[in-house]
Subunit: 391 residues, 2 copies
């Protein structure tokens, strides 16, 4: 069976590239001249354009959230288990929009693009981008697609931060906000891990102060280390124990050279690191982790998240996972507490799961059930609201 024929799949999808000529003023004070956004859509926009769902991606995500780009593709989009006909984000009901954020390295304008002012690749000169800038570009895309109000803005991790920012910055344009495995801001420990990952990249002599493309090279070692650090923090201690334990690759102790990976977990991590290093832009990694660092929902509101959420009009679903120690349930409960104090409508689900932060990408039954039920309610809300809006 070809993948596109699989039940519940959106099938073959074709990414689109949209050029935006109007310059964008960024939060850092610099202005990005015209830029490209690569995006995909799944499902059909209804007549009153009320059934659109925006998917916001996390650190290393891209526009390809569901389906396949060709029949030969072995892997579907990064959230294919969640998006498709009959799936929690049901494309037979919703028109789903997924884009690659600016600063990314999967088609949209980013550090690997050419800076029109110099004719050189942007590289490390690409401006610092913050979550609010992504929301601004997503708003422009919504305008272009004729989407006045999202039925839902959905995101996990850094994507959940974008969803919250949407609800604050454009309250009238978000009906529902789904915030999965996120936080109001990073903890000092989160900041520390990001700092170490960046240090590994900039310390790689192949990084060349960010001009590696001009030097015809890539900081593979640094990127691999950064990814390995990230990867350990995405998984739970328990899951790593279940998955690898202390299994030796050879079955017995035979201390070898540093080049040998003796434990299964070592070779797994090395593989993850090397794969990533071949496919991700180092400047984008720096940019994305700094966007994470800078995100602080309450900062413009006297450090009071309740004050921030008073601006929101959306209904919220907040989801956390028991073994997630990167964005623990405690961080999600902070979001929920602030929403309740701001008299917002919020549902909260804490999912018992062994998979750590990575759980948000996995088809865990109780998680997908909760998301499916919530999205059914989002769909049920569409009709009466549309009537009300038309008055």
């Amino acid at each position: 069976m070809e993948p596109r024929a699989a039940a519940g799949s959106v099938g073959i999808v074709t990414p689109r590239t949209q050029r935006f000529e109007q310059p964008l003023e960024l939060a850092c004070g610099r202005t990005l001249p015209g830029y490209d956004i690569v995006y995909e859509t799944y499902g059909t926009l209804n007549a009153d354009c009320s059934n659109a769902v925006l998917i916001c991606h996390a650190l290393s995500g891209n526009a390809h959230a569901a389906g396949y780009h060709s029949p030969a593709d072995r892997k579907p989009g990064w959230w294919d288990n969640c998006i498709g006909p009959g799936k929690p984000i049901d494309t037979s009901r919703f028109f789903v929009v997924s884009l690659n954020n600016i600063g990314g390295c999967a088609g949209s304008t980013g550090p690997h693009s050419v800076n029109p002012a110099t004719g050189r690749i942007w590289g490390p000169d690409f401006p610092v981008v913050r979550v609010r800038d992504w929301v601004a570009t997503q708003r422009r895309l919504a305008d272009l697609l004729g989407i006045e109000r999202w039925a839902a803005v959905v995101g996990g991790s850094l994507g959940g931060m974008q969803a919250m920012r949407w609800a604050i910055d454009h309250p009238e344009r978000v009906r529902h906000c789904v915030v999965i495995a996120a936080a109001l801001k990073l903890s000092a420990q989160n900041l520390a891990f990001n700092e170490i990952a960046r240090k590994a990249i900039v310390a790689d002599p192949q990084f060349h102060d960010g001009w590696f493309l001009e030097h015809g090279t890539l900081p593979r070692q640094g990127l691999a280390i950064a990814r390995m650090i990230g990867h350990v923090t995405y998984l739970s201690d328990e899951l790593m124990g279940d998955k690898f334990g202390r299994e030796l690759r050879s079955g017995s102790f035979a201390p070898g050279s540093e080049a040998d990976a003796e434990f299964q977990v070592q070779s797994y991590l090395r593989y993850q690191g090397d794969q990533f290093a071949d496919n991700f832009d180092a400047n984008t990694y720096l940019l994305m982790t700094r966007a994470l660092d800078y995100f602080d929902l309450a900062r413009d509101f006297g450090d009071d998240p309740v004050e921030a959420f008073r601006r929101a009009r959306a209904r919220f679903l907040v989801v956390s996972f028991s073994s997630d120690w990167r964005f623990s349930p405690r961080r999600s409960r902070e979001i929920v507490d602030a929403l309740l104090a701001a008299h917002r409508d919020v549902s909260y689900v804490e999912i018992e799961a062994n998979e750590g932060h990575d759980a948000f990408l996995l088809p865990i039954p109780r998680y997908h059930d909760a998301l499916q039920r919530y999205m059914e309610q989002v769909h049920a809300d569409l009709a009466p609201r549309s009537v009300a809006d038309a008055r």
Copy 2:
């Protein structure tokens, strides 16, 4: 007031270097020719040599556990808050021995020493050393000092692993075994962090496959990254939050270049990494983390720690700290459960502390109280046992 005059201090101490000419067969199958051990002693060995306490150091430790090397020293030894007259390990009662393990970089023979077979620095050719090898060298030192049986062998973290190994390998030579913030073996997550730290070191082009000294350089960047990774895992999320939060160094957001550390926690980590990189040998770091990786107390006993502890004759004190996520209380309870199942005499204290794994080095009142009371009992046990032994 000069430090040596401080109450409770052992004052000025002079490290001694002991040459061992007899080659040592290592667990890896290789043989280390004659080697040096640097050690310090505090307090006075009693007439029947029954009051000796061995201190086993952790990953980056050394022989200088207490006191000062000169009146000009600004910092005392690494466990000075715990060792001295009137302190938990009371030098007015005990004769305390602290040594630098082989493979270390603080005086004892290690990768920075000259390999007599080649006349070159050992560098990466230094043999793989395991916890049992350290115990073997410590036993030789005990023989030389006339210590037939330790009143106690004490260690935290990797030091606790040495203490347990002593109790198993030389049951008749250990009266009490004090195991602080340790584990029967590393978890997959522990292994993963060690792997990433080593990867950072070997990826540093200044590492030169371990021959950096011959190249007149040091892999400072790699070592700094390794230390930063270690450091984050030594601290708790809570402590980092309390200590740094998201405090900005400049007091406001002004996204700068990668060279800038904007958050306090970044500059703190960078400082820690740089300090370490100037003072620690990269080959030793690799060796020490691999000794940690390989340690597995039950491995020779059909993976049954109960079977392992059946060999022990010592009484045990096991201590853990609530916020230690590197060697969590759960890992200490595994030790305690195995000891109980083996019908060993064990006391267990779980200390409520915010400081993570690092807590074992800090003068937390309840921790030091518990240790002091236990060591008082160790001292009280000396006299009757000596009589019994003499029969």
